[in-house]
Structures are given as C-alpha cells and as structure tokens.
Symmetry: C2
Subunit: 342 residues, 2 copies
Amino acid sequence: MHSQKDVTIYDIAEKLNLSPTTVSRGLKDHPAISKKTKKRINDIAAELGYRFNTFASNLRSKRTNTIGVIIPRMNSSFMSAVLAGMEKVANEASYNLIISQSLESAEKEAVNVKTMFNNRVDGLMVSVAYDTVGVSQFEMLLEKGIPLLFFDRTLDHPQCTSIVIDNYKSGYLATQHLIAQGCKNIIHITGNLARNVYADRQRGYESALKDAGIQADPNNTFINVLDEQAGIDCAQKILKMNPLPDGVFVDNDTCAVNCMAILMNNGIKIPEDIAFIGFNNDPISRVIRPALSTINYPGFEMGEIAAHKLIAHLNGQQSINSTNSIILRSELIARDSSKRIK
Amino acid sequence: MHSQKDVTIYDIAEKLNLSPTTVSRGLKDHPAISKKTKKRINDIAAELGYRFNTFASNLRSKRTNTIGVIIPRMNSSFMSAVLAGMEKVANEASYNLIISQSLESAEKEAVNVKTMFNNRVDGLMVSVAYDTVGVSQFEMLLEKGIPLLFFDRTLDHPQCTSIVIDNYKSGYLATQHLIAQGCKNIIHITGNLARNVYADRQRGYESALKDAGIQADPNNTFINVLDEQAGIDCAQKILKMNPLPDGVFVDNDTCAVNCMAILMNNGIKIPEDIAFIGFNNDPISRVIRPALSTINYPGFEMGEIAAHKLIAHLNGQQSINSTNSIILRSELIARDSSKRIK
DNA sequence: AATAATTATGCAACCGGTTGCATAATTATG
DNA sequence: CATAATTATGCAACCGGTTGCATAATTATT
C-alpha cells in the first residue's frame, strides 16, 4: 500500500558526482552530453528505478506535449478510425492524446473543454456534440493562444481550421444514386440541421431532387438523433405513410439498418419497394442483408490530417489560422439495398 | 498565436493584499478561510481569468486524482458502456480518467503502462490485450504501491482484484442452449486460450457437451482473433466440413454475424441447418436477420464497479488486496438464430 | 607549446501551488 | 475587563525538472 520515496535526478546526480543539470540533459539525449556520461546516467537511472516526473517538467517548461480530443462518442468504427489516425501521428511526434466523450451533450462538452484547459493541453481537436450552440465555450482557449481545430462536426470560427468531407456532394450523390435507380419519392433521415454535416447533406439532397425536376417536400425530411431507436421510430412513421416512399437516404448506417429491419419485418421488400442508402460505411453495412449502400468516410485519414495540421502549428511550421478548411474525398458505395436496376 | 503571461495565485494575492497561502486555500474552499475572503478571491480570480495549474499542484501534493484505463479497443458497444460506467463513478468522486488503447498488442500495452506510470496515475484499470504474456510489465506499478485492477480480460496476480462475468457458466449456458435445440455437432469459435475469458468459455463449452453425453472434438474449437475477417475465414472452413456442424457458438457477435452472412450466401439456412449463438449482445445482434442469440454482458455495471472498487481503495476505505475477484451476472438471450424448436 | 575552437558540465534561479507550524484577529467565557 | 478558545491568515520551505549563461575540459590549429 505505501510507496517508497521517489528517485529524482538529484539522487542520480549524487551517485555519479554530476550536477542535476547534466543528468536532466543526459536523460533527454541532449547533444551537449557525451555518450559515455549518457550511458552512465541511463544505467544508474534504470538501476535505481527512476521515473520521469512529468509535472515538474511541464511546470517549468510550460509545455505538456499533450493534445486534447473531444468527440461525441467513441463507439463507432468511424470515430475509432479517426482516433487511431490521430494517435499514430501524435505518437510519431511524441505527443500524448487525452480523449474524452461529450456523449452528444453540449453541457458535458463544455465541462470537458474546461478540464482540457486546466490540464494545459497544447492544442485541442473537437468534433462537436449534437446540440452545441455557439463557440463561446471555446473562447478561453483562443484567448490564451491554444490552437483549436474542428473535424467532421465543425463550428465556424475565424481562427480555427476544419477538417471535413464534402457533405454537400455526398448528400447529392446519395440522392442522385437513388433517383438513378428510379426513386421519385425519397425520404432524408438526418440530424440537427445546426450541425454542418447534416445541413450540408440536406442541401445536397435538395439540390439533387431539384436537378432531377423533383419538388422537395419538407415532410420528407425527418430529423432525429440517428441512433437505433430513431431508426425504429422512423420505420413506424414510414409505415403509416400513404403512398409509401420509394427511397430512403439515412445519414448514419446504424439508424439505417434498424429502420430497414423493421420495414422488412412488415413485409416491405428492399430495394424493390423501398431503396436504402446509409452513411459512414460502418461494418454493419456489409453484414446486413441486403447489404447497405452507403457513403464511405475516410476516418483514419481525417484523424491523421487533423493531428498533422495541429502539430505543424504547434511546432511553428504552419499556422492553423491560414487555412479555413480541408476537405477530404468521400465516395459512394452501391450495394444491394439500393440496386433496383440490373 | 502568442499567449499572455498566466495569472497565478500570487497575482490574486497581490491584488487583494493577501498571502498566496490564503488564496490557494480560498480557491480550494478550505474551512479555515472566511466566506467573505473566499468570495473576494473567487471574484478576482474570475476577473483576471485565472486558471488552476494542475502541474504545480500535482508536483507538490504528489497526487494526481487521475486513474488510467487501458483497453484493447474502444470501438465496441461493450467497451463503450464500460467506459461510460467508469467515467460516471470517477466524475462523482472527482477523479479524471486517462484512456488508452492497446489495439490488442502486448507491446503497445506495455508502452501504455509506462506512459501511465510516468503520468503518475493514482491507479490503473486494465483489460489486457490479446497476446499479453505474464504480469511483469505491471510490476513497476505495484512496487510503487499503485493499485492495479483488471476487468473482463484479466491476469492472475495476488495483489490485484478482477471484475469479470462468469465466463465458464456463460459458455456452458450457450452450449447447453444449442444442445437443447437439438444440436449435436457444435463448433466453438474462440480466442487465445491464455485469456481467461476464452479459456473459461471453452471449459464451459466442454462441460456442457460432456454433461449431454457428447464427446468434445478438439477440431471443433476454432481459435482466432474474432474480428470480421476471422468470421469470414471460419465460414469458409465450415463450408468445407463434412458433415457440416449443426451449431456454432462464437465468442463475439461481430465475428458471429460475419460468419453467418457468408454461410447464408452459400445457401445454408440458419437456424435450420446450423444454429448460431454469439457473445456480448452488441447492437448488431438485434439488427441482423435472423436475429442473433447471444450472451448479455453488463458493461456499464462492470465499469461502475471497477471504478468504485479502485476509488474506495485509493480513499483508504477498502483495500483492493482483500478481494480476489468480483463476478457479475450475465444472461442468455435466445433469438431466432438458434430457435429450432417452436 | 600556445592559442583558438569545440565540447562537456555546472550554477542558480525558476515554474506555481501546498502544507506544517506560527501568529494575528476575533469571539466567547468567567 | 482579562483571559481562554476559536477562527483566520501568513511564513517559508518544498515538490523535481529546466534553461540561460558561465566555466571547465578536451581537441584542433598554427
């Protein structure tokens, strides 16, 4: 239960008749220290069970080499890929990542920002919660010159870069694809239109309809939180429609497959009666039958690029303020859930 | 880009003609400071934009109020639930969580342990990687008296408590269920048998077979990493068997649904030809058709209990060493993928 | 061998809260 | 009103690396 007194660089210095300065530099592989001395230092450090004190270091140097990440949830394969990409880049540049979830709550998100702020992260990467309003909760960071970067779900701010896919184009492509399969009465299931991702896809949806000479019906846009239950609820709502829609574009695969499952239970044939297309290319889209058409989202790259960009800024190589946004490529994957034309 | 000089308690002290000591105590709501003074301190702190310096505090007080968590991956609904449970309890006790992924690699896990160690976590909760061997990488923690707790995928150590479900019983129940549905030739798809979870389920599987008078065939146990690809590979392997098995018990829903999908593509009827049962009750198990029978795993509670236990130890309320393991209830959920008897 | 150039090491102040103990200020008690 | 008891505040050392600048040690140059 009780811990020994910690070994410090002073203990090592004493053992070797060196100054703490030299020990500190030796451990950090400083070029001014001779190889011989470095070896002696490292050997003794290992022998005594020395461990580096991050707090003393951070306190003095005023740098933490830590980057904060705040995301809505981490239990999606997309987010998991983003994090993996970030971690890879951060690791290579010897930065640590502190990750926290807002669980889609603006309130919790604000608390997380504050915690990150107190933990003195060098920079912060955020994908905002479902109901976040305004950017005021981030101002304290910017006032202190802590760089802030948004990815996927972004906010508009003159000092922040955003990393996104072209959601407008993706929404357009998905809708156009359904139209090409003969759909004329298409539902769009989306989220809070205050979020760029959903607003842009909705715009894409509307443009595609318009370009095909179809009048967009506001009642055909369903707004909800896009989780499992929402998918089920949407299915119930669709079953009550008359006439039934002949195509559904859902902004999230999880929601889409749950919706499909209920409809199929009720005797509706997919894609013959209703064609479906989702979003994200989650693993589930490949397993369900019929396999779900979807938009592929480059999560890993998004994470890599976000982390690269932020670290380049921190290292003074390239300011984050010069860029407005970086747009990654996304692509449509057509599978059986939408293929009506053989 | 450039940050102002930070506001410290010294600045506040000067403004109010107080000592830094009083300011420090005032901010911490110390009982010896009068209400009036506390208010003055907090007002000025807010006005100047003071932020607490965690490093200075941690350095001096030698406590971080931070708990480390190392998990194989966070992109499963089970792990996400565990983390949510941990975070809830930790928050309430004003502890922070640092979460990192081993990505199933023992090597990365060891690096993570070291980082946590250097970051001076007050305690550590671990679910070990697929191929972790031995406990030596954790010894440095125990030597310093840093409490270590395992959950789900555990290691045996006299000083560590484990939080688990009864994997033996779960494996027994799953197998027994398939037998009750008329299966006689049952495959068990499992993971590295050095991991308690897989070894225990395998024992349960064997016992259930034995109790039903069925001879366990070693060739009927498939060992792999239980991911999507593994599910596909297992399906190929099963298709080549003669006779085909009539039941499959998979230790993970993701792997199970991928395996099922391939078999169904090849004309095999589920559950008529082969009955399936998975493990974890992932959302996917409810969406796939036929819906996948599975074992429900209390992730959120597991997280809560683990965090509670560790924090009680840290607060000196209940030593972790007195407990060997805590076993949570799990349950079988029978769905269409295994129901052959109407 | 003397001096310059280079390499290696040390000094001492610093980062900003925290804490045991002492002291000042206020209130209660006789 | 004096003294005890209680409450509020301050002193000064401390936690353990870091860094600008000075100095010592070694190697190169003439």
